[in-house]
């Protein structure tokens, strides 16, 4: 099962490597990992997408909580939440493809944020599945470069992860 783990941790040097090291040392997988400081600069918020059985997820949560730099851990996928990922994708945009790329970006509600004579950079936000669909919808030969942020997630309504 796919899980989205949200972690609040001390914004200190080495905190990220403690979390990443834990995953590699214990053989847990990381599909995506994003991290940045929160509105409180002393805290970072990390989102990790991982896969595993309920037993593995229980261990992941417990092991994360054991790290001294970790303040709070929540499995977002346990309840209602929203998730988003940002992708920047550079595509070839020449000849008839130029119009086609514009149209595809519109259909997926992407925005073209860089234009040259032969390329577009399209910004697209959504669930990971939506970004995957966009990539699949394009002619693979026209994709020059992609960069994705990995998933960020937040609980719906009153579900708040805060110190």
């Amino acid at each position: 099962m796919r899980h989205i783990i949200s972690i609040l941790l001390e914004n200190e040097a080495g905190a990220l490597s403690r979390v990443a090291g834990l995953f590699s040392a214990r053989g847990y997988n990381i599909e995506t990992l994003t991290v940045a400081p929160t509105e409180d600069a002393s805290l970072s918020r990390m989102t990790i997408v991982t896969r595993g059985s309920d037993e593995v997820l229980e261990q992941i949560t417990k092991q994360l909580n054991k790290l001294v730099d970790v303040v709070k851990v929540v499995d977002l996928s346990e309840a209602a939440h929203v998730e988003r990922e940002l992708m920047l994708i550079k595509v070839r945009a020449t000849g008839k493809d130029r119009e086609e790329m514009k149209r595809m970006a519109d259909i997926f509600r992407g925005r073209i944020i860089d234009v040259t004579e032969s390329t577009y950079v399209i910004e697209l936000t959504g669930t990971s599945a939506k970004l995957d669909s966009f990539i699949n919808a394009l002619d693979a030969g026209l994709i020059l470069e992609t960069v994705r942020t990995g998933v960020s997630g937040i609980g719906r309504g009153d579900r708040i992860l805060k110190v």
Binding site: G14, R18, A25, Q59, Q63, N65, K66, V68, V71
Partner: protein
């Protein structure tokens, strides 16, 4: 008044009432060593290798209730210390390891004796710190002691760059520290404890299974009270020996790979397991699938939630400090509850299993290693602190020396580090200056830290080294004999030194014992005539002796190989 970082280090150690620091000097820690020179409240014990410094600090802690402290220099000092740190981490021993580091402005430049201490030690510490400002030094050290000793204990590394030890600031040692990210649970959940007590009172085939957590949390007394009140059989893990008196009838002995027949059978066929400060690891329950074939309930008390339901599913998890939880249990037991009342059949079954006498061994014309341990037990009246290295001798020590008290059995159970025995004996002796200390070892293990005989001379430590010398890496040889068709690849140790002369050259007493009838007199002599000397006792033992019972790797607990089967 402004004082230097080096002075702050010493002042912090004094504030923490640290009496002994085990260490080895070097460039990055010279300022700190200069401060050691100027005071005598904190004693520095100079070892011969950084690994031994950490092992000694580790055993110092294991054999007392104090935190162990080690001090090493940067680079190779740290890498040498890593084995010691990882060993302590595996067995949850509270240590503070102070490491020198190159000056802050050199970090990352591949400076002389620089290594990424925080990175290298990260996977084998409870936590680590790099101090970047002398103003943070005192509070960081306070945090280090706090983290090392609370919750599930463990080693904490503090990496201190040389310029930090020269810089000055006001010294203010905090009385306590609050960390929003670190709040270990202490009290167990009352509802869970009630549920557990209910199960305990209904059990027909119960067993109490206890590990190192009982020793570390000083819960032996409470455990004994509870076990007696319940009348249940008790089994200890290798790390839990001494948590419940070994000579008590309710004790069915150690369980696991080399546990007794009765302990493993009772564990497997119990309908209720009360697990206390233990973690169902591979050396204890063998194959978890085989173990899971029996229907049973499990209550698991541990201070570390991640130890619960890690390898087996637990019905009643209780996260909390063991003595507090046991105390609650004692209070909640019905007054009318009678120990033994419904357990007659269970005890009869256990006594049947006991009848197999699974620790029986054949005498030979040569000295049997088991016999040496039995005699050591007799000669010391069971009162010695026993350290061991890793291998067959470790198992013989665990099986044949009966520990009635906690913190008397000091060994590397988790990591299984060869070479710990002698430095462990040193640490024990510093923490217990009057106590008899014996190091049960083999000719393989002892050579891994043999240089510490020099430290023992410098500090006149009257350790008794019981070298069970079979000229073989015995446990490796045993596995090769049993599972590799007797292809003894690299398990024969040739070119052994003359241990008697070696001991003498360090200024100690050496003895070579080759006949069974000489074992006891030699031991008596070592503990009387040479009471105040280190005695290296080289016992030439039967090289074919194997450790039984044995649950082979990947097998189930009931699939034991017994000596009588062969």
């Amino acid at each position: 008044m402004m004082i230097t970082g080096a002075e702050i280090v010493i002042r912090c150690l004094q504030e923490e009432k640290v009496e002994h620091v085990f260490g080895y000097p070097g460039g990055s820690v010279l300022h700190i060593y200069d401060e050691f020179f100027k005071q005598d409240q904190v004693k520095h014990i100079l070892v011969r290798h950084e690994q031994a410094a950490v092992h000694a600090a580790d055993a110092y802690s294991r054999s007392s209730q104090k935190v162990g402290v080690a001090l090493v220099t940067s680079g190779p000092g740290v890498t040498n210390a890593v084995t010691g740190i990882a060993t302590a981490y595996s067995d949850s021993v509270p240590l503070v390891v102070l490491c020198g580091q190159v000056p802050t402005h050199y970090i990352g430049q591949d400076a002389f004796q620089e290594c990424d201490t925080v990175g290298i030690t990260r996977p084998c510490v409870k936590h680590n710190f790099l101090v970047k400002d002398v103003k943070d030094l005192a509070v960081t050290l306070k945090k280090a002691f706090h983290i090392a000793t609370t919750g599930r204990p463990g080693p904490v590394v503090v990496d201190i760059p040389k310029d930090i030890t020269a810089n000055k600031c006001e010294f203010d040692y905090p009385k306590a520290v609050q960390m929003r990210s670190y709040n270990p649970v202490v009290k167990g959940h009352l509802g869970q404890i009630k549920k557990a007590v209910q199960l305990l009172q209904e059990a027909k085939r119960p067993i109490i299974y206890t590990g190192g957590g009982v020793i570390l949390s000083d819960a032996a007394e409470k455990l004994t009270q509870l076990a007696r009140r319940l009348g249940f059989p008790v089994t200890n893990t290798l790390m839990g020996l001494g948590g419940y008196p070994a000579t008590d009838r309710q004790n069915v002995g150690m369980l696991g790979m080399h546990g007794t027949y009765e302990a493993n059978m009772s564990m497997h066929y119990a309908d209720l397991i009360l697990a206390i400060g233990a973690r169902f690891d591979d050396r204890v329950i063998g194959n978890p699938e085989h173990f899971g074939e029996e229907q049973r309930k499990i209550i698991h008390i541990d201070i570390d939630p991640s130890s619960i339901s890690k390898r087996v599913k637990v019905d009643v998890p209780i996260v909390g400090n063991v003595p507090d939880v046991l105390d609650e249990m004692l209070k909640l037991l019905d007054e009318g509850f009678k120990a033994d009342a419904g357990l007659a059949d269970w005890w009869k079954q256990i006594d049947d299993w006991r009848g197999r006498d699974s620790l029986r061994y054949k005498q030979s014309d040569l000295i049997m290693p088991q016999f040496v341990v039995e005699k050591l037990y007799e000669v010391t009246g069971g009162e010695a602190f026993i350290t061991s290295d890793v291998g067959q001798h470790q198992m013989f020590a665990a099986q044949y020396y009966k520990f009635d008290k906690p913190r008397r059995w000091i060994n590397s159970g988790g990591l299984g580090t060869m070479g710990v025995g002698l430095p462990y004996a040193m640490g024990v002796r510093f923490a217990n200056p009057e106590a008899p200390v014996a190091c049960i070892t083999g000719e393989g293990s002892i050579q891994m830290c043999i240089q510490e005989m020099s430290t023992c001379k410098q500090f006149e430590l009257p350790v008794k080294i019981i070298n069970l010398n079979n000229g073989m890496l015995g446990m490796v040889r045993q596995w090769q004999e049993m599972f590799y068709s007797k292809r003894y690849s690299q398990s024969y140790v040739t070119s052994l030194p003359d241990f008697v002369k070696l001991a003498e050259s360090y200024g100690h007493v050496g003895m070579k014992i080759e006949k069974p009838e000489d074992v006891e007199p030699a031991l008596r002599k070592a503990f009387t005539e040479y009471k105040d000397r280190l005695v290296f006792m080289d016992f030439i033992i039967d090289p074919t002796a194997n450790v039984f019972p044995m649950v082979a790797a990947g097998k189930g607990l009931t699939e034991m190989i017994l000596a009588e089967d062969l």
